[in-house]
Symmetry: C2
Subunit: 252 residues, 2 copies
């Protein structure tokens, strides 16, 4: 839910909290076809404290009916990380958070102290800039491989997932070598050009192991007053595609 | 200003916004000795939207009387980075923001489009976890060196600063090789054990080139009702040390 005031239907703009109203209707329409909701924090923070109120209301409306991901990409040292964990896990009640690994393992550990919560560590992202540092060769694998190896073998590794971009499906074989059992959060399908089929071919394991994210393709399926219905239809199309792939692979 | 409700004097807790009241008194006492204020976002976000209200009020009270740094360590792709820039630069009116470079140069560019604003990119941080990825050897320098080289030579590089931790002063010579003219934001002096003298010996250039951060040592100089006066004294002590070093080096 990258909910942007400039992209939601005009008819919502006269309401007191258009972002929450949009999210509410999207959730109602997509819930039967959706396993997880990912809220992109930047879109809420851009409007100051009131944007966070929209986020809080969205989380209260969801009320644990689906897995929730704070797409916040935080990454800071111990006591600061603890404060971010309080914000995301205690205050807003998310199940998981995306984290940047740049500063090292000790920046993720405070989040892992929360049982039944997940840390989704950036590994190989879907943007062109991934070449700048993530893809640097270190002698024992590229930087993103070192990230995966470090966290996949760490204590409490079962609470870790990795971000792996759909725009580089050929790298999923490498990622699966280092993290055969971990769940991967896969952005970049749809609007960014990644292919669902290719991601599943290379990235799916015997228990699926993939959380495939499609955001703009779903929430902005229509800019008219039928936005919620169209989002529901789009979510169902993707869910059916995923179901077929899982049937073909004998997973379900 | 890592302002923590659990660390500020009890006498403030009965007020409607204890964090803002603490910040206000700290600012009044330290302003004559301070060039910049760095607000650590995690400490405000931990309390939900009301925490951001305390931040907003703090920024309004400061009202451009000093350089302001959003210590938020954001790092995300283009349209999301644009939203974070809106939040920090347009909404809260900070002059600068700390950014994580993991995802690459394209995650910083949206911030650089704001003229007269600065992006302070994490290079080598002061925590033990810096060894995990920042210090990995890539064949052409360690990861943190590649980060510095990439941004120091990029377009709009004059709006870039780097984070360089005070706990590793011996690396400042390497950092200065790649970024002789850039300003460095240096955390880790004081509570984390870094030495002001060593940082200046290795990191200062002919126009100073250092923003040295001391947070807990100043704001928590006293836990009593004299907290503001003690913070002012502590800020002045550090300012005098810095002034002496600059006199000794012939910079002023």
């Amino acid at each position: 839910m990258d909910t942007d005031l400039n992209k939601i239907p005009n008819s919502l703009l006269s309401l007191s909290d258009p972002v929450f109203e949009f999210n509410k209707q999207i959730i109602e329409a997509t819930l039967p076809h959706t396993v997880a909701y990912k809220l992109n924090f930047a879109f809420y923070e851009a409007r100051g404290p009131q944007g966070l109120v929209s986020m809080e209301r969205t989380m209260q409306f969801l009320n644990n009916r689906a897995f929730t991901i704070a797409d916040a990409k935080r990454g800071d040292i111990g006591n600061t990380a603890t404060m971010y964990a309080q914000s995301v896990f205690d205050y807003y009640k998310f199940n998981a958070i995306t984290l940047s690994p740049y500063m090292g393992v000790d920046t993720v550990e405070p989040f892992l102290k929360y049982k039944n919560h997940w840390s989704i560590v950036l590994a190989l992202t879907s943007n062109p800039g991934a070449d700048d540092f993530e893809m640097l060769e270190t002698g024992e694998g590229k930087v993103y491989e070192r990230v995966i190896k470090k966290f996949a073998t760490s204590q409490m590794s079962e609470q870790v997932m990795f971000v792996a971009g759909a725009t580089r499906p050929e790298t999923f074989a490498i990622i699966r070598k280092h993290a055969p059992d971990h769940f991967l959060l896969v952005p970049g399908v749809g609007a960014q050009g990644g292919s669902l089929e290719e991601v599943c071919r290379y990235g799916m394991n015997s228990s699926v192991g993939l959380l495939i994210n499609s955001s703009r393709q779903v929430i902005y399926a229509s800019s008219g007053n039928d936005f919620a219905a169209k989002a529901g239809e789009q979510a169902q199309i993707i869910q059916k595609q995923m179901q077929q792939i899982m049937l073909d692979k004998g997973i379900i």
